[in-house]
């Protein structure tokens, strides 16, 4: 009991500390000061009256949503003796594997720089800045020569690293035994079996309504669809993030999806957010990064060639180029097993006051990265909102799909879950694929790293 109470106080203190730096805190303060004019706020019961005012005016709900958001994103405080790297990834061998993988990426990027004699970053001359500003909304029409650039890595390279992941304390043995995993992933992470998955995804059960299944044309809408849409509208009217998250487990009506996702991620387009996006845009105009060429190449190779996504090409540049400049993304490395690459200002190698992260957001894009943004373009058409949604989804979910970690929602666990389920419930298919050299994970790695949202 004692331990739980002190854990709770620690969580509360952590959340309060995080929220103190936010826009919401400043707004609440302003509202509190302004409310002193109101007749119902009495001096002798100041605290209680202001709390009541917040409840009635909807500000308490906004605070609730912000707290819920923090709880969803930030991991619970761990043991006080645990060092920060333990919070990123508790297993030492996985940390080491992630470190070596990152080193390979750095070497690859550095060698590309040296071969092409292009700096990692440079300030754009004024003329070039003006030119870029003019064609900001149609960067897709640009056809720069990207033939010399190559993606830093592709999902299949990453899969090779995952296949070779080994726990030094795990007895693999030379001969095939009960210890050997028949799939590609050879680390014994805990994955759920079907009964546990049934409990975890209880809303997908046969007796619960689900949009996409129970709203097909043969099913009368009075049975499920109408009521579910009505509840969705009510959830949006209440502006409650936690309720929206629960509601959406039974599917989201197409018309409400954009708003529901924004509510769950606690994204509301405030003037400050639009200003922040404009600031990022200015950063893109002023500085040219090598990473920009990688983004261009990736968009041209993937989304532009896709029947569904080619129309969104311009949006993709507007989001991804700004994303690379966003230093607020650095915060997620506290709970990501990955670490942001470092560099030094030219001529100041080794001097800590001239150390910077590269790119500013610490994320080096790989082949297929733009496909994380592409589906969101169907829902959001305003660039700053689209940007906010993508950034929040990245720091909550997408980063787990391309970093080596033991987290249950990480790519290693997902691959192992896929292989284990296939092996258990479709053993003949699994065996056949193995025999013809088409290991199931190799076939589906693109899908797993791109379309799976935990």
């Amino acid at each position: 009991m004692l331990q739980e109470e002190s854990d709770l106080s620690l969580v509360i203190a952590q959340i309060v500390q995080k929220l103190k730096g936010s826009n919401l805190y400043a707004q609440l303060e302003r509202q509190a000061w302004a409310s002193l004019q109101r007749p119902e706020i009495k001096l002798q019961s100041l605290k209680e009256d202001i709390k009541e005012f917040f409840k009635i005016s909807g500000w308490e709900k906004k605070l609730q949503n912000a707290v819920y958001s923090e709880l969803s994103v930030f991991p619970l405080p761990s043991h006080p003796a645990a060092p920060p790297e333990h919070l990123k990834e508790p297993l030492v061998y996985m940390r080491k594997a992630q470190g070596s993988w990152e080193k390979r990426i750095l070497k690859s990027l550095n060698s590309m720089c040296t071969e092409l004699s292009i700096p990692l970053a440079r300030k754009r001359p004024v003329g070039e800045q003006k030119e870029l500003l003019n064609k900001w909304n149609e960067m897709g029409t640009d056809e720069p020569d990207l033939s010399l650039f190559r993606p830093v890595y592709a999902p299949k390279d990453f899969l090779e690293v995952l296949i070779n992941l080994r726990n030094p304390n795990y007895e693999n043995g030379d001969s095939l035994s009960f210890r050997t995993h028949l799939g590609l992933i050879q680390v014994p992470l805990k994955v759920k079996d079907i009964p546990e998955l049934k409990e975890f995804f209880v809303e997908l059960g046969l007796t619960t309504g689900q949009l996409g299944i129970d709203d097909s044309t043969q099913v009368p809408p009075e049975l499920f669809e109408n009521e579910h849409v009505r509840i969705g509208q009510k959830v949006l009217a209440e502006q409650d993030s936690a309720a929206a998250q629960q509601y959406i487990r039974q599917g989201s009506p197409t018309a409400l999806r954009a708003e529901l996702w924004a509510l769950i991620l606690n994204i509301s387009s405030q003037p400050e957010d639009i200003l922040y996006y404009e600031q990022l845009k200015t950063n893109v105009i002023q500085h040219d990064l090598l990473v920009d060429s990688l983004i261009y190449k990736d968009v041209k190779l993937t989304a532009s060639n896709d029947d569904y996504y080619f129309v969104f090409e311009d949006y993709l540049y507007q989001v991804l180029l700004c994303f690379s400049r966003d230093t607020s993304v650095l915060g997620h490395f506290a709970y990501n097993s990955a670490s942001p690459p470092k560099s030094y200002i030219r001529g100041k190698l080794g001097l800590e006051e001239y150390a910077v992260f590269y790119p500013p957001n610490g994320v080096i894009p790989f082949h297929g990265f733009s496909m994380y943004v592409a589906p969101l373009c169907f829902l959001y058409h305003e660039p700053s909102k689209l940007y906010q949604i993508f950034r929040e989804m990245y720091v909550r979910f997408f980063f787990r799909l391309h970093s080596i970690s033991s987290h249950p929602s990480g790519i290693v666990s997902l691959c192992l879950l896929f292989e284990t389920l296939l092996q258990t419930y479709l053993p003949q298919l699994f065996y056949h694929l193995r025999e013809i050299g088409a290991q199931p994970c190799k076939v589906s790695i693109w899908f797993l790293t791109h379309r799976t949202v935990p």
């Binding site: 730096g21 300030k123 007895e171 470092k342 500013p360």
Partner: protein
Amino acid sequence: MSRVSVPCHVKGTVALQVGDVRTSQGRPGVLVIDVTFPSVAPFELQEIMFKNYYTAFLSIRVRQHTSTHTPPKWVTCLRDYCLMPDPHSEEGAQEYISLFKHQMLCDMARVLELRLILRQPSPLWVSFTVEELQIYQQGPKSPSMTFPKWLSHPVPCEQPAPLIEGLPDPSRVSSEVQQMWALTEMIRASHTSTRIGRFDVDGCYDLNLLSYT
């Protein structure tokens, strides 16, 4: 609650195994670690902290000092505490753990020696142990202060001067002023921790290569 680390001597692990260690195929599933406190008098144990390394279950036995002339006996204070919910998988395998005296089965008032019994029934792991073992006892209580006489024995209230007509009640005003002061102090004490968002150094972001360190 303050706590003080107790210097301890951790003896080498002893494996318990049936049969001959050399010829047996399997690896031991039970290890025993003895912890002694050579330079410390019998103390009250507050907390045991360690980093797990693939141990599935932990039992702890303690030998305590007894006031009578009987020799101290071994008593089990923790039985089969689960560190890894599934001994065959990685969950909990490398976690930091703290065990407190209120979790123990017996009183931990005069500890002489501890014996940690580690169990790992799964044959999948090459070795298992616990690392960075630290034992804590209760820290010293805050020193008692002597209060000046007028604080500990306040003079009985004097009769307040009669209220002048039209002025508010002074005790009410003072409580309201107290509340306002508390609020202003809170606002003054809070500070934001937002980053400014700059990624360059004085407007310069000219970089050549990435650093490997």
